[in-house]
Symmetry: C2
Subunit: 431 residues, 2 copies
C-alpha cells in the first residue's frame, strides 16, 4: 500500500486532534483511500509538554526544516496559526514541492493571494477547510458541490465566541460583561477576546468565503468591521420584543454591479433559521442562482471538529497525489458581474436605533425632524419606560436609509440637549 507522508507543524490542540484521528481511524482511512496515511514528523516549539495523545519521541522535532527539507514528506499540515513564521514556512514548503493543509484563516485572509499564486506556480495546492466553520464542509461545498452556481450572497454566523455571548444575553438575560466572563470560564473566549468580539475573526473568514463565492480576494481594510462590544442587554431585549435576534454576521452581498462586504451586529427576524443558531455554533447561509438558499450549520470550533476538516483535506490531497494528478483546487473564477466594492457609506439598510433622551416634550419631534431632513422614514417607534438614570429610551426602526445619511442625521441628533448618550444604531438584514 502506497504511503503518504505527513509533516505536521504545530502540535497544539487541533494538531493533537489530527494525530489522534489519523491514528484511531487508520484502518477506516486506508480502506477508503487505498493509502497508508503516515505521520512522519511533528514539529513544535514545545516538544516536552504532555499532550492528550502521546507519540514516539523520534517523531518530534523543534526544527521545521526537518519537515520542509524532507523529500519524503508529501503534505505539510500547518497548525501553528499567526502570520509569522507560518507564511514563510508555507512558501518554503511549496517551493520544495509539498502540498499544504492549513486552518490559518488570518494568514490566508492577509496573504492568501500570494500563497495561492505560489502554490499554483508550483503545481501544488493549499487546502483550508478547517479555516471556516471547523468541521462544516462549507469550503468543499462552495467549491465543488455548488460549482456551477453564481452567488448572490453569502452570510453567516462565523464566530462562535461572539455568538455564545449574544445567545447568552438573549436567552439568560445576561449583560455583555457577564456573558463574556462566562464564555472565558467555559473556554469559549480567549483571555484577550478582542479578535473574536471585535469582528476581526469573522472578517478573516469572510474574506475566504468571498473569495470562494465571488472569486475575489478582498483586502481586509476594505471590509467594514463592527464588533459586538457595544451591544447592550437593553438592545438585545428591545430587539426581541420587536421580533428579532441580534447576531454578529459576516455578509458578502451583490447589489447590482457592486459587492458589499461587511461584518456587524445585525437584527434578524426570529423565525429565520439563523436566529435559532445558539451558543458556539456557526451557520453559513448561501444564496445560489441554481441551488437556491442553503444553510450549513455546525460547531464553529473544537479540537476534533476542526481536525475532522483537516483530515478531509489530507484525504482529498492524498487521492490526487496517488494519481500523480495536479488538480488545481483554487479554481475560483472572478465573478464578472461584480464591478466594484461598495463603500459602507453608500450602502442601504434598515436600522434599529435607540436614543437616550430626557423626558421632555418635543424631543421626538426634534429627532424625527432631523431624520426627515435626510429623507429617512420611520417604520415604528416605541418610547420605553424611564430608566434609573431618569432618561427615556426611544426605540425606532427606520426604513432603508443610506448609511452616510443616517450617520449625518445621528451626529446632529446626538448634539441635541435632550439626548444624553450617543445613539445606538444596529443594522437589520432581510434574509
Amino acid at each position: 500500500m502506497k504511503k503518504i507522508n505527513i509533516g505536521l507543524i504545530g502540535f497544539g490542540n487541533i494538531g493533537s486532534g489530527v494525530v489522534r484521528i489519523l491514528r484511531d481511524k487508520k484502518s477506516l482511512l486506508s480502506k477508503k483511500t487505498g493509502l497508508d496515511i503516515n505521520i512522519r514528523r511533528i514539529c513544535d516549539k514545545d516538544i516536552s509538554s504532555k499532550r492528550s495523545i502521546s507519540v514516539e519521541k523520534s517523531l518530534l522535532t523543534r526544527n521545521p526544516k526537518d519537515i520542509i527539507e524532507d523529500p519524503q514528506i508529501d503534505i505539510m499540515v500547518e497548525l501553528i496559526g499567526g502570520i509569522h513564521p507560518a507564511r514563510e514556512l508555507i512558501i518554503e514548503a511549496l517551493k520544495r514541492g509539498k502540498n499544504i493543509v492549513t486552518a490559518n484563516k488570518a494568514l490566508l485572509a492577509l496573504h492568501g493571494q500570494e500563497l495561492f499564486l505560489e502554490a499554483s506556480e508550483k503545481g501544488k495546492n493549499i487546502y483550508f477547510e478547517a479555516s471556516v466553520g471547523a468541521g462544516i464542509p462549507i469550503i468543499k461545498s462552495l467549491r465543488e458541490g455548488l460549482v456551477a452556481n453564481k452567488f448572490n450572497s453569502i452570510l453567516g454566523i462565523l464566530n462562535g465566541t461572539s455568538n455564545y455571548i449574544l445567545s447568552s444575553m438573549s436567552k439568560y438575560n445576561r449583560t455583555f460583561n457577564e456573558a463574556l466572563k462566562e464564555a472565558k470560564i467555559k473556554g469559549f473566549a480567549e483571555k484577550d477576546p478582542t479578535l473574536d468580539i471585535e469582528g476581526m475573526d469573522s472578517a478573516h473568514k469572510l474574506v475566504l468565503l468571498t473569495y470562494l463565492s465571488f472569486g475575489k480576494m478582498i483586502n481586509m481594510r476594505d471590509i467594514f468591521i463592527e464588533g459586538i462590544s457595544r451591544i447592550s442587554l437593553a438592545d438585545v431585549n428591545y430587539a426581541k420584543e420587536l421580533g428579532f435576534e441580534i447576531k454578529l454576521l459576516g455578509i458578502a452581498q451583490r447589489e447590482g454591479e457592486d459587492l458589499e462586504v461587511r461584518v456587524h451586529p445585525t437584527l434578524i427576524p426570529q423565525d429565520h433559521l439563523l436566529a435559532s443558531v445558539d451558543g458556539v455554533f456557526n451557520a453559513i447561509y448561501v444564496e445560489g442562482d441554481l441551488a437556491g438558499d442553503l444553510l450549513f450549520y455546525g460547531p464553529g470550533a473544537g479540537q476534533l471538529s476542526a481536525a475532522s476538516a483537516v483530515v478531509s483535506d489530507i484525504v482529498d490531497l492524498t487521492k490526487d497525489i496517488k494519481a500523480g494528478l495536479f488538480r488545481p483546487m483554487m479554481n475560483t473564477v472572478p465573478d464578472k458581474f461584480v464591478k466594484r466594492l461598495r463603500k459602507i457609506d453608500e450602502t442601504f439598510s434598515r436600522y434599529y436605533i435607540r436614543f437616550t433622551t430626557l423626558d421632555k416634550p418635543g424631543v421626538l419631534a426634534k429627532i424625527s425632524g432631523i431624520l426627515a431632513k435626510f429623507g429617512i422614514s420611520i417604520a415604528s417607534v416605541t418610547q420605553k419606560e424611564k430608566s434609573k438614570a431618569q432618561t427615556v429610551p426611544i426605540v425606532m426602526i427606520i426604513y432603508e436609509a443610506k448609511e452616510k445619511d443616517l450617520k449625518s442625521a445621528l451626529s446632529l441628533i446626538d448634539r441635541l440637549d435632550a439626548i444624553k448618550e450617543k445613539s445606538i444604531a444596529i443594522r437589520m438584514e432581510e434574509v
Copy 2:
C-alpha cells in the same frame, strides 16, 4: 481544450435544466475545469414537444443505443426516473465504459448494490448527488467532507411535498386535505401523491443516506415506513400547544450495536432547527463523532436546484476522466460497530398519543391502568374540550416505551367501550 462528451437520457424537467446550465455556464465551467463539457446526444421518448430550452435537432434521438453505443460519450446522465429501463440502460452503459450520473433515488434504493458493484468491476463510477436534497451537497459532504467521521445518526426532512403539507397545516391551520389540494395546485404534489405522502420517497432517500453514513445498503422492506396521511389538524395543533412541530422524518440511528432505520411523522421541539424548516425545503441533520452535529438545509426539489447537483457530479467526473484516474467514489466502508438492524417492535420512543373517548368518569383510570400493566409511564396528560361529536380527546405524552408494548396496550385500550376511535400515536424524537 479536451472535450468531455455527455449523453443525456431523459429530456424532462431536470434534463432541460442540465442542458440550460451546461450551455449558460459553459465559459465558467471551462475556466474552472479546463475542459469543454459538451452535450453530444439527448435521448427521450418524446423529441417533438417544445421544451423550456431549444436544442439542435441533430442532438435528439429516441434510441438510447445512440448514447450507450457511442464510444465518444464519456458520461451518461440518466434522468428518466423509474426502475425500467433505467436499470438496464445504466448497466449497459457501465459495460461500455461510461461513467454514470443519476438522480434516480428509487432505482438506487432498490438496485444500488447491483449497480455499484457493476460500476466498481468496470472501474467506473455512479454519482448521484441530485438524488437526495436536490442542490444540497449532502452526498459529497458525507462522503468527502466528513470522510473520517463515524456517524451516530442521520435524520432529516427528506420529502418536500410532505413538509409543505405539514407546514401549511401548522402555519395556516389547514386540514390535511386542504393542504394537499393546495400543494397540488402549486405543483408541489403529484396528481397521485402516494409515494411522497406515504413516506416511500423519504425511505428511498434514507436508504442512500444510510449507505453513505453506515456503509450498509438496507433493503426497503426492512425499513419501517409510516406516512403523513393519518396526521390530523387536531394533532398538529395539540402538538404545537405542547411545544412541538410534527415533521415527517427519515431516521437512521445507532442504538448500541443495532441500527434503526425508519420513516415516520415525528414530534420535534419547536426550538430545534428542524422545526423551523418550512414549505418544500429539506434539511438533513448529521451527528458525527468528530465534526459534531451538523445541519444541511436547502430546497428539496426544483429544476435548477436538482440540475445544479447533476452538473457538480459531471464536473467531478470530468476531472477524474481528464486525469485518466479511476477514483472509486463508492468508498463506503461498512460500520463495523453495527451488528444488526433493530426491528421496529423492539425500538424505544417517547410518544404523543391522542385518545378519543366518551365523557364518562373512569375512562382515564382505565387507560392509565392498561398502560401501567405494560410498564408505560405517563409524562403528561391533558383532557381537551368536548368535540362536536360529543367525544373528548385526551392527549397524552408518555415516557420511552417499547413499540411492541405500546401497540399491545393501545390495542387493548381501543377495545374499551369508552374509546370511540382508533387511538393515534406519534413518535417523538429527542434531537
